[in-house]
């Protein structure tokens, strides 16, 4: 029930003497708590408005914050709430004097909410333990989402507990009280209401919040002369502006890739860095599953300059400089319009015909791609997507193509979205320079860091008399602000949003703002002088208009329970392309000259992990290896092999990039697949004032700041850059240096044609497959896939033991006949986005280790995504590096049945359980690391230092700081550790927050202990226990399929990871295990892993000019060359010479079955 839940939220996190007031229902009986409330006395109003009882928020001395945090911690403890499990038992735990209804201590609660993004929101269900949110999951009930998330969402929980977040109201940099801050907002409001808002400028981030729109309208009404500006360094709004120009209405494209047979991306990283990418991945991967024989497969063409996840997963990739994509788009558009024969499109076709195809692009590539698009069977099922780095004209061309293909309304819909009523940052800079801004209110944006270099924002901003900023961090923009208000995290605030399909979702808090932070809508409402300033009330009021519900109370409760408003998705209207307008936009497109060695092209791209820099202080994301470069803790100057040779630079050389007179220095990293003469710079690094993770300038910033050379005229790709080597080198922390499989069948691939013809091809790679070794005797019941065991598994031996009379001797079975767990990973649908890595980190309390430790191969991620390039094998042809195929594979503990780690552990710390899990008993582990040495998959992680207990600066080698000689907070570290082993050597203030992020169901491992994937054993046990409770006397203790998911499975947007019970023949995992494409990595070692993979299938177009090169996946080529064996050939010709009698002409699987029956 909403009000109870709300009251719980409020009450849980502030266990003071008197609980704060809970909102009253709007109708029905009113209860009053005190006579003051009844009388609405000013004292009571003031008490209501202030977050904390008197005293708590009035520390004005610098140590106040720390003390405040202590009070916070103490209040958690006093309630017996947060972290009683983390406390040592001698500390006092008091029970609730009145238990909140439905609350069971230790049992997690789930609340529906959403993470607002630039153009929408990610609908979420967030897990809360004792009043603190601990894990974020997608909302599976939402009509357009399957419960998956993106990696920013997974990592956003760490931002909530970031010890560096803004924790105070600051006036001129000095701590002020919350009341003073709110008074100042009132002052600003009164001042500008007197003059209609002249001189007030408000700078915001793009948002899809209807409440914000509503409050903005109120504000505009109250202050008609106030000016509004929006700033987004990525400028993802281009797609909407282009669609609006193409169709004459304010609409934004909404791609349904699950309905598409052919997808062409024009520098659009739909599987990586575009908005809503997790939803696009889901749609795309649906068309790559091939789980049943009938299912066909979609095809992806990528035209791009950078090497992106989309390019990695594309069936055909056209490598062309980012500035030249427009010309390719024009040629493609011309071909498609010509084929569609639409006479109305003639003006556009004329405009397109004027643009020549860039040099070096095979016209046949474009023609055949267009032919594939316009094929009759792809009618309405082909879609072209333009990326946010491309100019407006490319988006217009893409929408015109989609319209010509008849895909509008099916593979792409256009959802009406309100146009942003705001000017750009450049316009704001002009107003500031003209002196027409008296007060500048900055909401959330960090312009001092993200503004293009030529706006010189730090000085420009100071031209306003007053600058008020609402910020989550005291970052670069803090210094230039007269007032700095702390922003609330989305898990602390009331809000709302529309997801990209238009569905209305609430943003519901799970915890009271820990540092009294404000939300955007509250600040705007206060500026408008509105009488309703509580975000909850504002959102509820918006919901009243949005839902039009007669029973508002009930509808509101349902909204908060479901996490979305049913049936509120925007209906897409039928639209006709305004070809004249489109032709106008296209004719303004001037083809940029192709970049050359003298005039390099700089591309500024959204970082896969830091976004535009907002996640710079998030350790999980900093340490997440870039899915393509595998680089952590840094950005690099990416160039192609050819460019590097021409410039005579190599990996790690420090160079200076000069663009328009501005310079930035960074290390070189040669990126296979990058367009020549392109310099790719990731945004979001090199912060001057970030925090203990991202650094604070003075040489400890992570990476270099690409914004420093970003011109406002060409913010995405700019030409005319030069690279000068500086003669030094810089160490980069790259988690995977070796990018080739060297022909080993770790990832097995085939093209669709071959995969259909030889459905069991994946098994033919096995060394013990009949294909290679017909002479080897096979294990019964394995379809001839596995060699007969030399000796029995110890467990099987015990279980198979027969006593006298053939009966099983008394004693428990070692194998459970209820549950046997297993996992299947579909490499065909996995795109390598790394969301699972962060989800696992969040679920399993995995620490970060810092750059220095990553360079020493000591990262702790339980999941690593291996990325292999193929085609680079041929030493004689280095140009293969320029156009590589790449494959990605998530690798984690595979839970081998014959686990090599188990047999060597001297203390039995890693053992098998009866359900097939390879479990770690952390308490037994003494850290001999024998298991890691013996693991063929190298998936075990060792805690070399107390990574959970040490601040990052102590983790820098080779001469590490030792606690024996160090002190923190003025106390000897060893003593601190003895007093509180959990806290270790972390500063008090850091620890008080960071511990809140931990999952209480998972041990926080200390130093000297081996750890690895547990198959989320805590979730398994939770499900088993609840099933046991449910089963009661019936004895039906088998956990039904779908009851729970592992963290990686739940987060995976591609639905590539499937976990379940192998003993349930109807479970998805047991079906996938029977699939022909199922194989074990390094299966010839007879480890019998429980996690197996489905081989990857590619779908190239035989008509394409590059088909000759990729007739077979390049990894397959490498394999064939290395092992002299062809998995598609009849095994008699396999090259090993072991010809089975009568084996000729039979398919491999049939032969296998025959042998298996022996």
């Amino acid at each position: 029930l909403e009000s109870e839940r709300f009251s719980k939220l409020l009450c849980l996190s502030s266990m003071k003497t008197i609980p704060p007031p809970c909102p009253e229902p709007e109708t029905g009986l009113k209860y009053w708590r005190s006579l003051d409330q009844l009388a609405e006395t000013p004292e009571f109003r003031q008490w209501v408005e202030r977050e904390f009882p008197a005293g708590a928020s009035e520390f004005t001395d610098p140590v106040g914050r720390r003390h405040f945090v202590k009070i916070m911690g103490a209040s958690f403890l006093l309630g017996g709430l947060g972290l009683t499990g983390c406390r040592r038992p001698e500390e006092k735990i008091l029970p609730f004097s009145k238990l909140p209804e439905g609350y069971v201590h230790g049992v997690a609660q789930y609340y529906a909410t959403a993470r607002p993004t630039r153009t929408g929101a990610v609908p979420l269900v967030v897990k809360s333990h004792e009043g603190r949110p601990t894990k974020v999951e997608g909302n599976p009930e939402h009509p357009e989402h399957n419960g998956s998330t993106d990696l920013f969402t997974q990592a956003s929980i760490l931002n909530l507990y970031d010890p560096d977040r803004a924790q105070r109201f600051a006036k001129g940099g000095n701590t002020a009280t919350r009341e003073e801050g709110l008074d100042f907002l009132g002052l600003v409001s009164r001042k500008f209401r007197a003059n209609n808002g002249a001189g007030l400028a408000i700078l915001m981030e793009p948002s899809a919040s209807p409440s914000r729109d509503r409050v903005l309208q109120d504000l505009q009404k109250a202050l008609p002369q106030a000016r509004f500006y929006a700033h987004d360094p990525l400028d993802v709004d281009t797609a909407r502006r282009a669609a609006s120009q193409t169709f004459g209405q304010s609409v934004a494209p909404y791609y349904r890739l699950d309905k598409a047979n052919v997808v062409v991306t024009l520098d659009a990283d739909i599987l990586g860095s575009e908005e809503d990418q997790y939803r696009l991945i889901r749609g795309f991967s649906k068309g790559r599953k091939l789980e049943t024989k009938e299912s066909s497969m979609n095809r992806l063409y990528a035209v791009e300059g950078l090497m992106t996840l989309t390019g990695v997963n594309a069936d055909h990739r056209l490598r062309v400089a980012t500035s030249q994509v427009a010309a390719v788009a024009a040629a493609l558009g011309a071909e498609v319009i010509k084929a569609s024969g639409n006479s109305a499109a003639q003006p556009l076709a004329d405009a397109l015909a004027k643009i020549a195809l860039p040099a070096g692009v095979n016209p046949k590539w474009v023609q055949e791609c267009a032919k594939d698009l316009v094929k009759a069977e792809n009618k309405g099922k082909a879609v072209v997507v333009a990326g946010h780095r491309q100019p407006l004209a490319v988006h217009v061309i893409a929408q015109a193509i989609n319209s010509a293909l008849g895909s509008v309304g099916s593979a792409v819909e256009f959802k009406p979205v309100p146009a942003a009523p705001a000017g750009s940052l450049t316009e704001l800079a002009q107003s500031l320079n003209a002196g027409s801004v008296d007060t500048l209110v900055v909401l959330g944006v960090n312009p001092a860091y993200t503004a293009p270099a030529d706006l010189e924002w730090s000085t420009t901003q100071r031209k306003a008399k007053n600058v008020v900023r609402l910020g989550y961090y005291e970052d670069e923009s803090f210094a230039g602000s007269d007032w700095h208000l702390p922003a609330a995290h989305y898990l602390e605030s009331w809000g709302d949003a529309r997801t990209s399909d238009g569905t209305y979702v609430p943003v519901q808090p799970l915890i009271e703002p820990m540092f009294g932070g404000l939300t955007e809508i509250e600040v705007l409402a206060r500026l408008a002088g509105s009488s309703v300033v509580r975000p909850h009330d504002i959102v509820r009021e918006t919901f009243r208009t949005v839902s039009g519900a007669s029973n508002l109370d009930g509808a509101w409760k349902k909204l908060l329970h479901d996490g979305f408003l049913t049936g509120s998705a925007a209906s897409s209207s039928s639209l006709a392309v305004n070809f004249t307008a489109a032709a106008g936009v296209v004719s303004s497109l001037t083809p940029s000259p192709a970049p050359s060695e003298q005039s390099l092209e700089v591309v500024f791209y959204r970082d896969y992990s830091l976004d535009d820099g907002r996640y710079n202080n998030n350790g999980w994301l900093q340490e997440l290896p870039d899915p393509i470069t595998k680089l952590t803790w840094d950005n690099a100057i990416l160039i192609s092999r050819k460019t590097a040779t021409a410039l005579k630079v190599a990996n790690r050389d420090v160079v200076e990039v000069t663009l328009g007179g501005r310079k930035v220095t960074g290390p070189i990293l040669v990126q296979p697949g990058l367009a020549d003469n392109t310099v790719a710079l990731a945004l979001g690094y090199g912060r001057e004032k970030s925090g203990r993770v991202g650094g604070n300038g003075k040489g400890n910033s992570v990476g270099f700041n690409a914004y420093a050379i970003r011109p406002s005229a060409a913010p995405h790709s700019a030409s005319g850059a030069k690279i000068t080597p500086l003669g030094s080198t810089f160490a980069l922390a790259i988690t995977q240096e070796h990018g080739s499989m060297e022909g080993r069948p770790i990832i097995r691939e085939a093209n669709l044609e071959d995969a259909v013809k030889h459905p069991t091809f994946a098994r033919n790679f096995d060394l013990d497959s009949p294909h290679h070794s017909a002479h080897i005797e096979k294990e019964e019941g394995t379809d001839g896939r596995l060699a007969k065991r030399l000796y029995k598994n110890a467990y099987a031996e015990y279980d198979d033991k027969k006593g006298p009379g053939g009966a099983k001797p008394p004693g428990p079975m070692l194998h459970s006949d209820v549950h046997q767990w297993g996992m299947s990973v579909d490499l065909s649908s996995c795109v390598g986005c790394a969301t699972c890595v962060v989800a696992c980190q969040s679920e399993n309390n995995i620490p970060i280790v810092g750059k220095d430790q990553v360079t020493r191969n000591r990262e702790m991620h339980w999941i690593r995504i291996d990325r292999y390039y193929s085609g680079a094998m041929e030493q004689s042809a280095p140009e293969m590096i320029d156009e590589p195929q790449a494959v990605t594979q998530p690798m984690f503990c595979l839970h081998c049945e014959n686990a090599p780690c188990e047999s060597v552990c001297p203390v039995n710390a890693t053992v098998h359980d009866e359900e097939g899990l390879n479990v770690m008993a952390y308490n037994r582990c003494v850290g001999t690391r024998y298991c890691s040495n013996n693991c063929p998959y190298k998936v075990r992680r060792f805690n070399f230092f107390d990574y959970n207990k040490r601040p990052l600066e102590q983790l820098k080698g080779p001469f590490y700081k030792t606690p024996a000689l160090d002190s923190t907070d003025g106390e000897w570290d060893v003593l601190r550790w003895l007093k509180s082993p959990e806290k270790g050597y972390r500063p008090e203030q850091e620890w008080e927050l960071l511990k809140l992020a931990k999952n209480p169901n998972v041990s926080v491992r200390m130093r000297g202990v081996m750890e690895k994937c547990t198959y989320c054993v805590q979730r398994i046990e939770e499900a088993k226990i609840s099933q046991k409770v449910k089963a009661r006397a019936s004895g039906d203790v088998q956990v039904p399929e779908g009851t729970f998911q592992t963290a990686c499975q739940q987060a995976c947007p591609a639905d590539a990871i499937v976990f379940g019970n192998l003993l349930d023949p109807n479970s998805r995992v047991s079906k996938l295990k029977k699939h022909e494409r199922d194989y074990s990595v390094l299966g010839f070692l007879d480890t019998r892993p429980r996690t197996t993979y489905l081989a990857k299938v590619r779908n190239p177009n035989p008509a394409m000019p590059d088909y000759d090169r990729i007739k077979q996946p390049l990894t397959l080529k490498e394999y064939t060359e290395t092992s002299h064996s062809d998995p598609f050939a009849d095994h008699a010709e396999g090259g090993h010479g072991h010809q089975p009698a009568g084996g000729h002409g039979q398919p491999a699987s049939a032969q296998g079955e025959k042998k298996g029956a022996h």
């Binding site: 972290l83 009683t84 499990g85 983390c86 406390r87 040592r88 038992p89 735990i93 230790g106 430790q853 020493r856 191969n857 000591r858 001297p906 203390v907 039995n908 952390y922 308490n923 037994r924 003494v926 850290g927 001999t928 690391r929 890691s932 040495n933 190298k938 075990r940 992680r941 060792f942 070399f944 230092f945 107390d946 080698g957 080779p958 590490y960 700081k961 030792t962 606690p963 024996a964 060893v974 082993p981 959990e982 511990k995 931990k998 209480p1000 169901n1001 998972v1002 041990s1003 926080v1004 491992r1005 200390m1006 130093r1007 000297g1008």
Partner: protein, 195 residues
């Protein structure tokens, strides 16, 4: 030695054949006092300068070793530069090195014994001392390679009848009384069910 006064007639005592006659160990009929002085003189006399010259560096090196072991224990086994997949490097290399030295000592001693070299005693003594000390040196590495103050128990397994062929759980109550860890300190921050 020599013969003291005896009641037996001299003819009743068989004469030791000349070839079996041992050379006297102490010549010139020196007294016990002299022998005591000679033996005790080594310990009681002034320590030679060369002894100090060897001893002081040895003590310094030993101190260095113990402080580095302390540093290792307090900081973590990562100070050795280990990683995944090279999870054993410094420790196993040194262990094998010292074991090898130990083998050399045993081998020298054994070969001299098998070849019945009568002059071997002093050399064997030195070689076997080398073996013992080399094994002690080698033993350091298994003890400290877990970088854990409880590592010493790896070589002193407590009697624990339920542990068959595996090492006992060093931190369990059945083993150990003087662990520098409080027995439950390691994994406090778990589910809290124990609270």
């Amino acid at each position: 030695m020599g013969h003291d006064a005896t009641t037996l007639p001299a003819s009743a005592v068989p004469r030791t054949p000349k070839e079996l006659e041992r050379e006297p160990l102490v010549l010139n009929q020196r007294s016990l006092g002299w022998i005591s002085d000679a033996v005790a003189g080594i310990g009681e006399g002034k320590t030679p300068k060369w002894w100090w010259a060897l001893f002081i560096p040895s003590v310094l090196l030993a101190t260095f070793m113990f402080s580095l072991i302390g540093y290792l224990m307090f900081t973590g086994v990562g100070v050795w530069g280990l990683q995944v997949p090279v999870a054993w490097a410094w420790d196993i290399t040194n262990f094998v090195f010292w074991i090898g030295i130990g083998h050399a000592g045993t081998l020298i001693s054994a070969i001299l014994f098998l070849l019945r070299q009568k002059w071997r005693t002093s050399i064997n003594r030195a070689a076997e001392a080398m073996t013992i000390f080399a094994v002690m040196c080698a033993g350091i590495y298994p003890v400290v390679h877990t970088s854990d103050a409880s590592g010493w128990r790896l070589v002193v397994p407590d009697p624990c009848p339920t542990a068959n062929a595996i090492w006992p759980q060093f931190r369990s109550r059945c083993s150990g009384t003087c662990s520098p860890y409080r027995p439950t300190s390691r994994f406090r921050c778990s589910s809290g069910t124990s609270a």
